[in-house]
């Protein structure tokens, strides 16, 4: 496009003068992260951008337009639904349903015990959590039942846990695959194992301190990638989605994700590995929130910033390392228990953001998730939401269709700068491990909680059905119920396992793990033997607790 900027500026002033004569409706014209929004964007807003330098071509630096040259013209994003409840057998049935309905990747939502790496019989009362928030996987027996009959040689599986559980759960999965004749070297999938989720988003019960959690997360990366035990596995997933759910904004979300990645990279470099030994397998999991254009600009800015960060600091040689690969989940915190059918609409818009932003895989929330875990009907609708995007709307027929939008490009640039500034702020706070230990990050999260509440209660942040367009009398949808026998079934499964396994071998391997922890070696090789031998999650992670101690969280309400 040829532009005469002088003429443009004159015409812009003329339009501005005219527009100001017209009254403006009440409203807050800022993005969700607080960037002021002009009435109109023109070539003047992007005149400092250099196409090749700032935007470029998909599959080429700085990757603003996407990480692959062909994006969705090659293949659609993966439909990956985060799912799990009750018992492994019941979750397996749900996964089969999702697969039949068109899901193309699995993702295990684990229950609280599994996520935190505890056994249900470790102390009284906690059996109440069995299967409630996800699938219970306390040992190799549970994992076998979960993936029974599913084509895990072809379809990737995401294991969503904490760094405490990461080594045990991942090797459990590898050992199940091996029993089915699938070598771990060929397995595709992801372990979430995100340090900041464990600390900032969900405060952990029974966790070791952040430095040791970082060690565990890096042990898993080291084992899979530089040690080449599972070179196609994504051994970590920086889950900025979860931090965002606390109420922080798009700028903080990406900045925290980058800072988290840097902590892991620096730890692995300090172990003597080279950047090219592992960095190409680091992946991310982002949110798709309320502000449509800001979220799309966020994905574009995040890709560019990852490129910039690696180029400026680490300079890997492998071009794939610079590709910011990410899964997206639509924002659970934007859903409402009031008028829950509205959640279908919210989720559809958010899914569109993710697709226009070039995600690699996508989870769409079910409309009943502000109330309970999703019913079959609700989750099928959520899958269909993605299928409509793929098959009916045509949005996936062209790469990065919003590039060149004056607004989206200006916003992408603005976000890039703001994210980088906040990233430097985290570094000033000492990087993520220190910022967790000192309580700085908790303070940032708590500030966000309070700001969102004030904004929602004052009406500055509108929520349809909650603080506007409220319906007095509502018929709530039927709640999906978890199998009340789940705890009993899992306790029996554990008891049977402990009866049947070689307990002397488990004990001697646990001693070996103690030695490994004391000498600060990589825990994975012995944890892998332990999970194969039928040791439970809680037995394994209790060794970490015993050797390193429990973390006393610096939380002030």
């Amino acid at each position: 496009m040829r532009e005469n900027y002088q003429k443009l500026e004159e015409e812009y002033s003329r339009w501005k003068g005219e527009s100001q004569q017209w009254p403006e409706r009440d409203g807050i014209f800022r993005t969700d992260s607080g960037i002021p929004i002009n009435q109109l964007y023109t070539p003047l807003d992007v005149k400092d951008l250099d196409y090749l330098e700032d935007i470029g071509f998909p599959g080429f630096p700085p990757y603003t337009r996407g990480i692959y040259p062909n994006m969705y013209r090659g293949k659609f994003w993966t439909i990956r639904m985060f799912s799990g409840f009750g018992t492994p057998e019941e979750t397996n049935q749900r996964w089969r349903l999702l697969y039949e309905e068109g899901e193309t990747g699995f993702s295990a939502a684990a229950d609280n015990l599994t996520t935190l790496a505890l056994d249900p019989d470790m102390f009284p009362g906690i059996e109440a959590e069995v299967g409630k928030e996800g699938v219970p996987i306390y040992s190799i027996r549970g994992m076998e039942a979960l993936v029974e009959g599913l084509p895990i040689d072809r379809i990737s599986v995401a294991l969503v846990v904490t760094p405490m559980a990461g080594p045990a759960i991942t090797t459990t999965y590898f050992n199940v695959a091996r029993k089915r004749g699938i070598a771990k070297e060929t397995l595709i999938g992801t372990t979430q194992g995100d340090l900041l989720t464990t600390c900032c988003a969900i405060i952990p019960w029974g966790a070791v301190d952040p430095q040791h959690m970082l060690k565990l997360a890096c042990d898993l990366i080291e084992y899979c990638i530089p040690m080449k035990e599972a070179p196609r596995w994504n051994p970590v997933n920086f889950t900025t989605y979860n931090y965002r759910e606390g109420g922080i904004d798009a700028v903080q979300e990406i900045a925290m994700g980058l800072a988290n990645a840097v902590a892991h990279i620096d730890e692995l470099l300090s172990r003597g590995w080279k950047i090219d030994d592992f960095v190409h397998r680091l992946a991310f999991h982002l949110s798709a929130h309320r502000d449509f254009f800001e979220e799309i600009a966020k994905y574009r800015a995040a890709r560019k910033l990852w490129y910039r960060l690696l180029r400026e600091r680490y300079r890997p040689e492998n071009p794939r390392a610079y590709q910011f690969r990410f899964h997206v989940q639509t924002a659970g915190s934007s859903l409402t228990a009031q008028q829950p059918m509205l959640n279908i609409i919210r989720t559809a818009y958010q899914a569109l953001e993710a697709v226009l932003g070039g995600c690699q895989s996508l989870h769409t929330n079910s409309y009943d998730e502000a109330i309970c875990l999703p019913s079959e009907e609700a989750v099928t609708l959520a899958v269909r939401t993605q299928e409509i995007l793929q098959e009916e709307t045509g949005v996936a027929n062209v790469i990065d269709p919003l590039a060149g939008s004056y607004y989206v490009e200006a916003l992408t640039k603005e976000l890039e700068e703001r994210i980088w500034d906040y990233f430097l702020k985290i570094e000033e706070a000492g990087g993520v491990a220190e910022a967790l230990s000192s309580g700085w990050l908790f303070g940032q999260m708590a500030e966000a909680f309070h700001k969102r509440r004030r904004d929602q209660e004052s009406g500055a942040e509108k929520v349809v059905g909650v603080n506007c367009y409220v319906k007095e009398e509502e018929e709530p949808p039927p709640a999906f119920r978890i199998n009340p026998r789940a705890a009993e079934i899992e306790l029996e499964r554990l008891e049977k396992l402990r009866r049947e396994r070689d307990n002397a071998r488990v004990r001697s391997l646990l001693d070996e793990l103690r030695r490994v922890c004391e000498q600060n070696q990589n825990v994975l090789p012995v944890v892998s033997q332990l999970t194969a031998a039928g040791a439970t999650l809680g037995e394994i992670t209790d060794v970490y607790r015993e050797i390193w101690g429990l973390w006393d969280l610096p939380i002030v309400a």
Binding site: A128, P204, W205, T336, F449, E457
Partner: protein, 136 residues
């Protein structure tokens, strides 16, 4: 001068979703109450803290779906020490509307589901405590 209303807030069990309870804690202190956030508490420890701190209100949140189980356990722990009636007992979190009544039957005084404005919790505490002191 009137003594400030004292509130103990905690998370029973393993559910680490902390946004809700911290949000409520801040809202209650902005409304002039004194709040103590006890983090994760085993139930005996919770009862002990509540008695020691001489609180008027105990609140907890459950987002994991195990709200009925934890509500029962909390009530039992208080009854065991014979102090259930010393406190106004509140629950918040993510649970369906149809569980509100069962939670009340278990013995929870105030049940607050998703989307509750914090002002509703403040009002509930004021009116319940006022009617209780009236009864005394």
């Amino acid at each position: 001068m009137d003594r400030k209303i004292r509130v103990l807030l905690f998370k029973p069990g393993l559910d680490g979703h902390w946004r809700g309870i911290i949000t409520v804690s801040k809202a209650l202190s902005e409304a002039g109450m004194e709040t103590i956030f006890a983090g994760f508490k085993n139930l005996e420890g919770m009862v002990e803290t509540a008695l020691q701190e001489d609180v008027d209100v105990i609140g907890f949140s459950v987002h994991s779906g195990a709200h009925l189980e934890w509500a029962r356990a909390v009530v039992e722990a208080l009854e065991k020490e014979g102090c259930r009636d010393d406190f106004l007992l509140l629950i918040g979190g993510v649970f369906p509307q149809e569980d509100h009544q069962p939670l009340k039957e278990i013995g929870i005084d105030g049940v607050f589901g998703p989307g509750t404005p914090t002002s509703a919790i403040v009002e509930f505490i004021h009116s319940e405590l006022a009617s209780r002191s009236h009864k005394k």
